[in-house]
Amino acid sequence: MATAPLTLHLCRLGRNLCKTLFLTSSPVPRNPCGVSFRRRFRRRICFSSSSSFSRRFSASRELNCELGEVDEKYDVIVVGGGHAGCEAALASARLGARTLLLTLNIDRIAWQPCNPAVGGPAKSQLVHEVDALGGEIGKIADRCYLQKRVLNVSRGPAVRALRAQTDKREYALRMKNVVERQVHIHNIIPFLFTPNLSIREAMVTDILLGKNDNVEGVCTYFGMNFYAPSVILTTGTFMSGKIWVGRTSMPAGRAGESASHGLTENLQRLGFETDRLKTGTPARVDIRTVNFSGLEPQHGDEEVCPFKPISRFIRFNFGSNQAYGLYSLKMYTSIYVISLSKLYVNSFKGCLKGPGSLLLGELCLPAIMYLHNWQVGWFSFDPEVHIEREQMCCYLTRTTSTTHQIIRENLHETPTYGGWVEAKGPRYCPSIEDKIVRFQDKESHQIFLEPEGRNVPELYVQGFSTGLPERLQLPLLRTLPGLENCSMLRPAYAVEYDYLPAHQCARSLMTKKIQGLFFSGQINGTTGYEEAAAQGMISGINAARHADSKPLIVLERESSYMGTLIDDLVTKDLREPYRMLTSRSEHRLLLRSDNADSRLTPLGREIGLIDDRRWKLYQDKQARISEEKKRLKSVRISGGDLAAEVTHLSNQPVKDFSTLESLLKKPHIQYEILDKHGFGDKSLSRMEKECVEIDIKYEGFILRQQSHLQQVVTQQHRLLPEDLDYYAMTTLSLEAREKLSKVRPQTIGQASRVGGVSPADITALLIVLEAKRRKAQEQRRYKIMNAIRATTQDEVPEVSLTEKVNSG
């Protein structure tokens, strides 16, 4: 009986199913929440055909299938297949919502149109957080990296950041595979998968509305209607996109891809405010025409495992890669040279026989475990994707006086200085002409050359975006050392696009005007793949929950960079594309990469995005960390080699009977020192050791920040009633009344961050709220008193008693 409706699926979606049934590669979540929900749902289907559950669309779909009709009804529709769209669609599908992903071009899913890199300060925290919630961006980046580096290694655990150059094509391909093969495992019948994420090429031009200002679906250019109670728009740079090279422009979302027209007008018709932003991307040159010999190489970090033979990670590949000459053999030796010069220089000098020598391969290097800084980091907390790869090398070149001269002579040809494009680009991504004009005394600017993939000849010229016409771009590129004979594959261009100022969204990313309509990514005025993925994650979760009539999730500002990002977007007045920076977070010490999982994975589990396997991994990890912290507290040492070395490294005396914990708190003492002297726990992974070390070393600071936070959160998170009439509050300043009416903050904290709202306004607001509350209470009490009088005596008094307590 139970299988009946499911076999219908099989008939209808046989093609997809065959694929998914025999799918092995992508990890399939087995989430407890969504599954239990599905199970319930199925049972109800089976036993009563006229059940009145919330997911009416799914129900009608079942019935329609029976009739053989094709009716496009879903739970969630995601418009756009970029980094926001993919995360949103995956999250929603994994929560059990039947999801449709509409994109202009299926071949461009998860494309990286600008710099193919993931992470960096603040952005890497976003990636870790998305991963901790069960998102995909971190895993894909971990599997497609060309090079990885940990930035800010010695500047504190909160700003330590991982950055990966990724293989642009591989990245898109892997993400596309994951999206295409997203299935929902059926719990009752283990071998039955339900593909619940469909992909379709379409250009959405309008939003279909229901009677109560709620979304009912979307309408496409070719006249198709797709229905769903939740719609997520992730239009990126495509909405009325226009690209510029010099003075020439063309309607396009990206070079060579048509823009999406009509949606802006229809959104405006619905009362949405739209505006325009500008961003750009530099030229790409052919790697084979670049002479790297005189350039400074920028190597990645290497995974170095203690007690493992080097052959484990020396895997020279002289095959196809040599063609581009980018795999630096020097890289491997340089690691050793640096590490060895630090430590056991003499003992290992003899072993080094030059880059080509595979003799190295047989060596064991226990000393390597001190090389904290030279290890590959991972975005994902899931060890399944921690697969090392060969790294490629980036190079550093610089602008020359000729570069500057050409630009100065042709300033009138650039959009900003020629004056034909008004929109200002982001401050953190200035064009090369901006840099030269604004920092005239700087003789040279750094330019990074970064490969875009293992099997493509494209080289990204980082720091060299320009608005100059194409005829000047190649001569300009050729002024750079190493690029004297280069050929250009793609010209640099700028793109202008429509966005919707995000104050029109609540912090769940659902629009305030239209129920069920969500915005994510560049449409909200952000920039960057990581920012997009973070928003996609939240809107995907919330769209699925909305379709399921569950309460929406709001990440508070203090909980995560994701929360900070969204809070800034919906609260503050933004004048440029928003990029996440560590300085935007007030308590960043608490929002680190290493604790992203302990902050958010429990939430992911509760929502239903963390499967049993992942949950167990997580719990085991936390248990090991807390065990180890306990152990370090209890084990004491007196004298010995360890004490001597600690004294030597930290310049501080070690008292007798010191706990290992107290040793770890001393400057320059890392967990590896304990390991070296046999006091460490060898079963812990490097990441776990790092967690232990951070927790212990910075305990004082972390606790202080935590209690600072505690002081405000209770007050900050006081909810504001949604029906407040700010214009009627005469004690507020005029500006505050206007701004608050526009933003309609959810909490007092959010209200205080709205531009133009002063502390005095917040005080006034609080007084109004308190007065309101008491009035309401008076009324309630009055009603209850009346009720008591009206009814018999022995029924109500308890209620009135509690009311009195409340009034205190």
Binding site: G156, D213, Y428, I702, H717, A760, E770, R773
Partner: protein, 536 residues
């Protein structure tokens, strides 16, 4: 967040307040806001249906949530200041830590203080070095039986402003925050102490007071003297350092390396400046020892009358005879709470009278030692050549000591020649050595208020209670900055990574903000983009 702390610190949440989110259940990391049962307004129905996720790191051992974390403790002088000294003045503390903060300064005659609610106890308040500041009566009023329904401790001190301010400062150093205008009343209201009918009044009162405070703060920044310029410069130095450091943290590989020694030097300089300001600044000295003001002038221009009129006494003998005053006569007055010692001197002229000659010498000595000189001339006689000579004598005396004592020109006996004002106004441009000129009539008391204002302006203490508040607030800012910088220096000493330096620098910059709760992130960011060539 720190900014927010400052904004909302005064809002104490009543546990049963319906605006307060329901307390989280056990050890869970989130709470559910119950959805309203009916969704009448469909368009916004989603808004009432949220699950908020707050910060909870499973790895972190649970911080005590109820403890002192819930609200700050505020302190202020609640009796009027700035007027003539009263017999008794009160410093009030309110908040969860009121008792422990008071306990840090207050020493009862018995060895330990075990506060009993509503029981008065006699004792002394000690400063950080253990010196007695004042004898006080401590009155603890424990929650909820107090004005604010929080723990309240009132320290009843002697009415002298010096005492009150030193006791208040002790409280601030012990961890209290200076109360915002109307904050006690605000807390009382928010905690349900005041009647609903008073809500309107409370709102109006607090709005008016905050506007006044904001005005005063702005004025304070512009006014010279006090701590204004120091606070302003310290803040910009903090922001500058933050800019340097944050730029490195967010744009790691695009920046030239940081000169750590330079940064440390700057930090050390800053904390030295704060320390010296708090230890030796004009302001504190003024509060404790008062000002010496010498009244000088030719004989018979009304110096002694001025002293009598100003001190409202008959301290000096006044006659028609020139040279009546032979010796230096002192009279104590208080201007806006600053104790001032007025010194009437013998009229300075060349004389053969031995006694008068000594008097003249003394006059000159007094003029040299004074913080401020009031040079008196007669409106009837106008500016004479002797006045010029006298001015030169004072000037030369000043030149020899190397100081630059400000001089106020007082044109006395203005009642005898009412039209003189305009003439003097014209003439006075030549005498630009005078910081101010004031027209007075010692007999009627006309112009004395103006004279007081001039004095206050010159010594850098802005007149009126509003400005007093500004100075007090700046003093608190400096205390907080000192604490933050001390922590910063210990971080540097412990060789903590760069990121940790920003935490305390941020705290310092925040506490130095013009308005509490200022957001500094955007300022730092625009500085970074303005100063450095960022962007790959």
């Amino acid at each position: 967040m720190a900014a927010f702390r400052a904004v909302l610190r005064h809002i104490h949440i009543n546990a049963n307040n319906c605006f307060a989110p329901p307390s989280s259940l056990g050890a869970t990391w989130q709470f559910l806001i119950p959805a309203k049962p009916s969704r009448t307004v469909k368009s916004r129905a989603g808004l009432d249906n949220y699950k908020l996720v707050v910060n909870k790191d499973e790895r972190l051992e649970c911080v005590d949530q109820i403890g002192s974390g819930s609200a700050t403790t505020i302190a202020a002088i609640v009796t009027s200041v700035g007027g003539p000294p009263a017999a008794v003045g009160i410093v009030r503390l309110s908040g969860p830590a009121a008792v422990s903060i008071a306990g840090r300064g207050f020493r009862p005659t018995r060895k330990t203080w075990r506060p009993t609610s509503h029981v008065v106890e006699y004792g002394v308040v000690l400063d950080s070095e253990g010196n007695v500041i004042d004898e006080v009566l401590a009155v603890p009023m424990l929650a909820p039986r107090s004005y604010t329904r929080e723990d309240v401790v009132e320290l009843q001190c002697h009415g002298s402003e010096v005492c009150l301010r030193r006791v208040l400062r002790k409280c601030l150093e012990a961890g209290a925050t200076l109360a915002q205008p109307g904050e006690f009343t605000l807390r009382a209201f928010l905690n349900g102490r005041l009647d609903l009918s008073q809500a309107e009044n409370v709102a109006r009162l607090i709005a008016a007071k905050s506007v006044a405070a904001a005005d005063a703060a702005l004025a304070g920044i512009q006014a010279y003297g006090g701590f204004s310029s120091l606070v302003g410069s310290l803040r910009s130095r903090c922001i500058e350092l933050l800019t340097e450091i944050e730029a490195r943290l967010d744009f790691d590989d695009e920046m030239p390396p940081l000169d750590l020694n330079l940064i440390m030097d700057k930090i050390n300089n800053m904390s030295r400046d704060v320390e010296s300001a708090l230890e030796t600044a004009n302001y504190d000295k003024l509060l404790q020892s008062g000002l010496q003001i010498a009244i000088v002038g030719r004989p018979n221009v009304g110096k002694s009358s001025l002293l009598n009129a100003w001190s409202k006494s008959e301290r000096a003998i006044v006659t028609e005879i020139a040279g009546t005053t032979r010796d230096v006569i002192e009279a104590g007055i208080s201007v806006s709470g600053i104790p001032i010692n007025l010194l009437d001197t013998a009229g300075i002229r060349d004389t053969d009278d031995i006694v008068e000659k000594i008097g003249v010498e003394r006059s000159e000595a007094v003029a040299r030692g004074a913080d401020l000189i009031i040079m008196t001339v007669s409106a009837v006689e106008g500016w004479t050549s002797e006045d010029t000579k006298l001015l030169e004598r004072i000037q030369s005396a000043k030149g020899s000591t190397g100081s630059s004592t400000p001089v106020i020109l007082v044109v006395n006996k203005i009642d005898c020649k009412p039209c003189a004002e305009t003439e003097w106004d014209k003439g006075c441009h030549s005498h630009n050595i005078f910081s101010k000129h004031v027209f007075t009539c010692a007999v009627t008391g006309q112009g004395l208020e103006e004279l007081e204002r001039a004095v206050l302006q010159i010594v850098g203490i802005p007149a009126g209670g509003r400005r007093w508040t500004v100075n007090q607030r700046q003093c608190e800012q400096l205390v907080r900055t000192k604490e933050a910088l001390a922590r910063l220096q210990s971080s540097i000493k412990d060789e903590l990574p760069l990121d940790f330096w920003t935490i305390d620098l941020r705290d310092a910059a925040l506490s130095l903000g013009q308005i509490s709760g200022e957001d500094i992130s955007e300022e730092v960011l625009s500085n970074i983009f303005g100063k450095f060539c960022i962007g790959k």
